[in-house]
């Protein structure tokens, strides 16, 4: 089985490549990249990518697929379908399911279900602590062996410093990555960012320091251990600065930022619309600017959606009682373009780098590249396609999206996973 993608521009940041090339896929692998018209033109399937970008399959190491436990919100199958519809070929799902992904049987379940579904590659992360309770270490070694690509208690941070210290020491043995949801639990009782808007609304609020404290603590704990440490969904200006300093000190620290923390502020909460409620909460315009600056100077390594499905009826509650989170996979690419490319903050090669090879490095997957011999995970992007985000058109099971109705530019039009076309934008 061969696929030839013709007439497009290849953007492959893993090899600093931005060039008009044809891509030949053979038996699930990248066979060759050749100059336009140099290829024989014979293939089982030819895709015309005129005026389009051909990139390594997009990766998102931070999604919630709710299976097992809350299958009415999302399943591995529906989540993987949403992923390929957004141009993502590989995603890493978080362990805050019911029950928690905190043992090897659960890890095995996700991997098997991902294979059975056969859309995007879904890799599990395991919990750092049993039941994500922050007390006892989960079986990190066994889960790692079985295929967990990283460890996190996401949804909450590991609050106990002694537990976190042990986790860093222990996980370092496997050279795996600890991903932290940075939120000091004693400062976390709130529904939105603590600032002028929360003061005006009388809403219980979380100060920016809740995030910063845990980042600072973990960087200190990790100074001598130097485990690979990844800050999830960064949201405040000082968080960016702390990571900048950590990197300067030579620490093995990386960070991700979500689309909503690049585009929205706590001003959006004024109407009590729970589609603007997430954790970490929307912060101020100054925080957004600092996150963008962090993307520009490389402090922030990658872009991750924190795709968090919830049913409409769950979100249809009083703001402070509604669950946190929004979905993101199907509109993330266009939102990153709007936040980062359209204003001229970064170029395409850097953005695709943050969505592919940088992600693969952190979870140690041999993906995120179009090098010959690599898995043929490929995304074809139309950078000029204008479209309107319509939550009703999503294939995700949930609809909790604050970007509904936004006019955006740029969209994945074809998603190829393992050498097979898994999704094509309907004409």
């Amino acid at each position: 089985m061969t696929i030839l993608i013709k007439n497009g521009t290849v953007i492959d940041p893993s090899r600093k490549l931005e060039k008009k090339l044809d891509v030949l896929i053979k038996d699930g692998k990248i066979a060759s990249l050749v100059a336009p018209n140099a290829s024989s033109g014979s293939a089982d399937h030819v895709i015309d990518a005129t005026d389009k970008f051909i990139t390594p399959g997009l990766i998102d190491i931070h999604v919630h697929f709710r299976e097992p436990g809350d299958e009415e919100e999302e399943t591995i199958a529906s989540g993987a379908a949403a992923a390929v519809a957004g141009g993502f070929t590989t995603v890493c799902c978080m362990p805050n399911t019911k029950p928690t992904l905190d043992n090897e049987a659960q890890i095995e379940f996700i991997l098997r279900e991902s294979q059975r579904v056969g859309l995007a590659n879904v890799y599990p992360t395991g919990a750092i602590t049993k039941g994500r309770e922050g007390k006892e270490l989960a079986e990190i070694g066994q889960m790692h062996e079985r295929g967990a690509v990283g460890f996190t208690d996401d949804g909450v941070g590991v609050g106990d410093a002694s537990v976190m210290r042990k986790a860093l020491q222990y996980a370092n043995m496997f050279d795996t990555v600890l991903m932290q949801h940075c939120e000091e639990p004693t400062l976390s009782k709130g529904a939105m960012h603590a600032g002028l808007v929360s003061t005006t609304l009388g809403m219980p609020a979380v100060p920016a320091e809740a995030e910063q404290l845990m980042i600072a603590r973990d960087l200190l704990l990790n100074r001598t251990i130097n485990c690979r440490y990844h800050v999830q969904h960064i949201s405040t200006a000082w968080s960016v600065e702390l990571i900048r300093r950590g990197k300067k000190d030579g620490q093995r620290v990386t960070a991700e930022v979500a689309p909503h923390h690049l585009l929205l502020t706590d001003e959006c909460c004024r109407d009590f619309d729970t589609n603007f409620k997430m954790n970490p909460p929307l912060r101020t315009a100054a925080d957004v600017a600092a996150c963008i600056e962090g993307v520009k100077d490389g402090t922030i390594d990658l872009l991750a959606t924190d795709h968090a499905p919830h049913l409409a009826e769950e979100k249809e509650l009083e703001f402070q009682f509604a669950p946190n989170g929004i979905i993101g996979l199907e509109c993330a690419l266009a939102l990153y373009i709007k936040a980062l490319i359209e204003p001229g903050h970064i170029g395409w090669i850097r953005m695709i780098e943050m969505m592919t090879v940088k992600q693969a490095q952190i979870v140690k997957l041999k993906k995120g590249t179009l090098a010959e011999g690599a898995d043929a995970d490929v995304t074809i992007i139309d950078p000029n396609l204008k479209w309107k985000i319509d939550k009703e058109s999503f294939v995700s099971r949930s609809r909790n999206c604050p970007f509904h109705g936004w006019e955006v530019t740029g969209r994945a039009v074809c998603t190829i996973v393992g050498g097979a076309v898994k999704w094509t934008l309907p004409a």
Binding site: A194, L196, T199, T200, G202, M203, L317, E318, F319, Q320
Partner: protein
């Protein structure tokens, strides 16, 4: 009945004072003025809302506000339903919206909502077809309290503009404070918020208020002092060290009262903790407007019910 016939009330709901214009607030106060007279008649009733149904939906304890709304509705000849649910309905598996839709299905024209969550009245207004009047949503707003406080101050001084008004105590957790801030600043009063930094963030300055941590530094300069109720559950969460320290620093004690302006006007939204935020003889003394506030509350709530029902009834 209103002198400002130019201004028309167009709101189906009363959710807060933040979004109201000066003209709209004036219209409510003027309407209240005409309704206040009803309470002085031997037959204390007008037929304005005959055949309409108002429900008091209270998800939090309240005596004053609930009975005030009930009596206001009765004086307008409305039928009244009382729905009190101390525990959150969500704990019983029914959402606020479902509860409200069920109430509405009984043919209700106005839901008066008291709820512990900020924004709950807004949530309701988006979900039901009838009018919603916010009777206190979390620490967000308590618009009828703000209106009756404004009414009472205007009645006493004949104006609002230029008056120096102190709001003292647990400002952070007070919906009364927020509604007062909107009402007073719109009308040009100078608002001084007084309390410890743990109960009064600097952000309030951006709402056009002076943020003051020393009550003594401003007490002699105030025309109006509005004492907020000390909420004891806040002490347990260590937002201030002890009741006696609070009283020492922020209570309206006799000693402080001596340093007030001669014609200072003392207010309190109730219920009072006598001897804690306010000394009894001040609360009961000639400078106190506390019971006047309660009396005016009735007229203001009649005005609000009347105005929203005129709009709600047209839809």
């Amino acid at each position: 009945m209103s002198e400002s016939t130019e201004v028309r009330w167009t709101r189906k709901h009363l959710l807060g004072l933040e979004e109201l214009s000066v003209d709209e607030i004036s219209l409510v106060l003027d309407t209240a003025l005409s309704f206040k007279e009803v309470s002085t008649r031997s037959v204390k009733k007008v037929p304005a809302l005959r055949g309409r149904v108002m429900v008091n939906a209270f998800f939090e304890d309240s005596t004053r506000t609930r009975t005030s709304f009930a009596l206001a509705a009765q004086r307008l000849s409305a039928d009244i339903l009382d729905f009190s649910e101390k525990t959150s309905s969500t704990s019983k598996g029914e959402t606020l919206i479902d509860t409200a839709r069920n109430i509405e299905a009984m043919g209700v024209d106005i839901i008066v909502l008291r709820h512990k969550a900020a924004g709950s009245a807004h949530l309701l207004a988006r979900s039901v077809k009838c009018s919603v009047v916010n009777a206190g949503d979390g620490a967000h707003e308590h618009p009828t309290q703000g209106l009756l406080d404004l009414y009472t101050i205007r009645e006493r001084f004949g104006r609002i503009e230029g008056l120096k008004v102190a709001i003292v105590g647990d400002v952070a957790n007070s919906r009364v404070a927020r509604s007062n801030i909107w009402a007073l600043t719109k009308f040009g009063a100078k608002v001084f918020l007084v309390g410890p930094p743990t109960l009064l963030s600097k952000s309030f300055e951006q709402l056009g208020c002076n943020v003051v941590h020393s009550f003594d530094s401003i007490v002699g300069d105030m025309d109006v002092i509005n004492m907020l109720r000390v909420q004891f559950e806040r002490i347990q969460s260590s937002q201030f060290p002890s009741v006696r320290e609070f009283t020492r620093m922020y209570g309206l004690t006799w000693d402080r009262f001596q340093r007030c302006k001669k014609d200072v006007f003392v207010m309190h939204p109730g219920p009072m903790n006598r001897g804690i935020e306010i000394q009894s003889d001040i609360a009961d003394g000639p400078q106190s407007g506390i019971l006047t506030q309660v009396t005016n509350g009735l007229a203001v709530r009649m005005a609000v019910l009347y105005l929203v029902s005129q709009v709600g009834g047209q839809s």
